[in-house]
């Protein structure tokens, strides 16, 4: 299963059982700025897929009334797959970082071009850093508060690694540019 949206929806079902419309609302709130639904109806397609793969199941007794709202919960297989996916995703991020560094190195003979890329990458990082909110101590619900803190700290620590790397890369390419003069 490749769709990031499917995995994110599975995660929300793991967090707590929900029905389709509720999931769509929770998705928009939880993944704002990270993932986007093509439409609310997409949630139902995704739920079908997850159910067919045995990752979620309907909660018994929730398909009742004139307008039934079947609620879904995660299966043990769904939880296992989700954990595996998280690790795979992180490995993919490591690979992407290495790839970026390797691809930048093609400019060894044209250091000014690399410096231009570094400048723009640095600007993007600074904007991301500036947009990272300072966490207030005001209490939110436990899960939302934890998610906010984890996301915020991850952004900050990632930035704490990227900025020195940008500094380092800039020095390397500047030295190359100076050597060419």
């Amino acid at each position: 299963m490749q769709s990031a949206v499917h995995w994110a929806l599975l995660g929300l079902v793991i967090e707590r059982p929900s029905y389709g419309y509720e999931l769509a609302n929770r998705f928009e709130h939880a993944y704002a700025g990270m993932l986007q639904l093509s439409g609310f109806s997409y949630v139902y397609t995704a739920l079908d897929t997850l159910q067919c793969r045995g990752m979620i199941e309907e909660l018994p007794g929730t398909r009742t009334g004139r307008q039934p709202k079947p609620r879904y919960r995660a299966t043990a297989e769904g939880i296992n797959s989700y954990q595996e996916r998280l690790i795979t995703q992180m490995r993919e991020d490591f690979r992407r970082s290495r790839l970026f560094a390797r691809q930048l190195a093609v400019f060894a003979h044209e250091p000014e071009m690399a410096l231009d890329v570094i400048e723009r990458y640095g600007q993007a990082c600074l904007e991301e850093a500036g947009e990272t909110p300072v966490l207030t101590t005001a209490g939110t619900d436990a899960v939302a508060g934890l998610a906010e803190r984890l996301v915020s700290e991850e952004r900050r620590l990632a930035m704490g690694a990227r900025l020195p790397w940008i500094d380092y890369a800039r020095r390397e390419f500047k030295a190359l540019a100076t050597g060419r003069m």
């Binding site: 600007q123 600074l126 909110p133 300072v134 101590t137 930035m159 900025l163 500094d167």
Partner: protein, 232 residues
């Protein structure tokens, strides 16, 4: 209009000016804006703050505060518009935290009773009033930062400069310090901080300083001016 403006500022150290601290740095800060400059050690970030405060003069370039050239009016703005947070407390300036604030104010001609009430208000604003009667040596990491901020606030600055506000501060206290700085900015006090840590950049206009060169958005982002009536 900028509150603080650095125009093509350079600063060199060493007998032959061989060490570049700042190279052709331009920066504008607006009223109530929070700007944080990230840099590695020896990147020039502390020099940038000292020059912005008027403590040091640039070798080339101009620094203006409220459109006044700092070099033309040396010492005229530090303590009178610009607050520079020093985290060191000299024993000669008082035994207790509140004494440290009062001494600075009295030394600048503020009557003692007025100085005491201003010091108390500043300690209150920095949420450190409970430590007023402690000695600086008794303060923890975040308390020292808050006391330093309070000492600068006592002079009612319009620009606050602070070097490494979150260094040595407990992880859980870090955001509270940043929130304090943001709240001061919301009250209209511009903040220029330097940091070697990425957390300090949160919610601010962030720039980086590398080998004395400033990278990032040098001026505040101004809203596009839309004419009320189409011209022409």
């Amino acid at each position: 209009m900028s509150l603080l403006e650095l125009e093509r500022v350079s600063k060199y150290y060493g007998q032959l000016d061989e060490r570049v601290a700042l190279r052709d740095v331009s920066l504008q800060i607006g009223v109530g804006e929070m700007v944080v400059v990230w840099g590695m050690r020896r990147s020039g970030r502390s020099t940038l703050l000292r020059i912005a405060a008027g403590i040091e003069a640039p070798d080339t370039g101009v620094v203006r505060f409220e459109q006044r050239d700092l070099q033309a009016h040396p010492g005229a703005t530090l303590g009178k518009g610009i607050g520079y947070c020093r985290k060191r407390f000299a024993a000669s300036e008082g035994q207790l935290v509140i004494d440290q604030l009062v001494t600075g104010l009295v030394a600048r001609g503020v009557p003692l009773s007025q100085a005491t009430s201003r010091a108390r208000a500043a300690l209150e604003r920095a949420a450190i009033a409970s430590c007023a009667t402690l000695t600086p040596a008794e303060l923890g990491g975040s308390e020292t930062v808050r006391a330093a901020i309070a000492r600068a606030l006592a002079f009612a600055p319009r620009l606050l400069l602070i070097d490494e506000p979150t260094i040595g501060v407990d992880l859980l206290e870090r955001d509270a310090i940043l929130l304090l700085l943001h709240s001061l900015a919301q009250e209209g006090i511009a903040i220029l901080a330097s940091t070697g840590e990425s957390p300090g950049l949160s919610g601010a206009r962030a720039l980086t300083l590398s080998e004395g060169e400033l990278h990032g958005r040098h001026a505040p982002e101004l809203a596009e001016v839309v004419p009320l009536r189409p011209t022409g």
